[in-house]
Symmetry: C2
Subunit: 193 residues, 2 copies
Amino acid sequence: MTTQATVKTPTTRLNGLDVQAAFDTIDAIKADPSIARFQFRARNRWIDGGENVSAIRDFYGAGREDESRTDDFVFTNGEPPVLLGNNEGANPVEYLLHALAGCVTTTFVLHAMARGIAIRELSTELEGDLDVRGLLGLDESVSPGYERIRIRMHVTADCSDEALNDLLDYTQKHSPVCNTVCRPVPVVIERVA
Amino acid sequence: MTTQATVKTPTTRLNGLDVQAAFDTIDAIKADPSIARFQFRARNRWIDGGENVSAIRDFYGAGREDESRTDDFVFTNGEPPVLLGNNEGANPVEYLLHALAGCVTTTFVLHAMARGIAIRELSTELEGDLDVRGLLGLDESVSPGYERIRIRMHVTADCSDEALNDLLDYTQKHSPVCNTVCRPVPVVIERVA
């Protein structure tokens, strides 16, 4: 309606994401799919007992080594007393829930943006069931990992319930962490000198 | 050799773990397998764009709600600029690597203790390959999650190479996060009012 509206369209940022940058990225990947390949990394060091610390900084993506981070992200795993620790940090299976919650949320928000849906509020609650007989090797018929994980999502947005349900279904199929959990992903462990 | 040595045996603590408490736990689970059932939880809230924050505190295990933690553990997911963020935190797929590193390490140290092996040093380096065409829905034949994850483990201990290799093989089969990644685990997402 005005010159200003033409220069700065309502879709410049949506859900905190730069819409033009997102679609530029998609166009660039369509032109050269090799730039979609990423490699993420972590380094971890055992401290004592159930305590260990990871440092995360560098990764490869968009055709080059990323240099945007000047410091490591540092995270401490620990265990509660009932699992022989002193609550030095959240434990690894809890960090997995954090990763899953974040990935489902970001995937939801990203594809909402692509569909022109403005998210107002979004929160999740996660529960994962696990039988430690698997970890302890007390019953080889018990899987050591999570039996199942439930996510309850609370979301309000400027669209219909049907549109939100469709977006949630799409999110579940396209979230990298959700896909890594739902699908068998090979983990290769090699001991080096 | 001395009275003191008899009272305080060398196996009281090994690898930072209370050996007696560990075997007491195993005996208790053998007597009542229901106490091996745990439920871990996380609550997450979207901030903006690729930024969201999890709070982790309570869990159920050993037959009751745990009350050992007086504060939440709080973790921030973010994204680097190349993935439309401002490095507000590590991203979800990086947190997954941290969870995996920690779980493999703790499982290794725990079963080393059970075998009477003293670990001197233990560190790991992880790499995970991922093609963001899956996340973006640009090619439905590309899995959104990790294609594979490699772990390089550096470990020194008071045992043979053969014993370490056997322990590593056992660890890979019994680590809860490794098992959750290697095996298809159902994730149920429900939208609630």
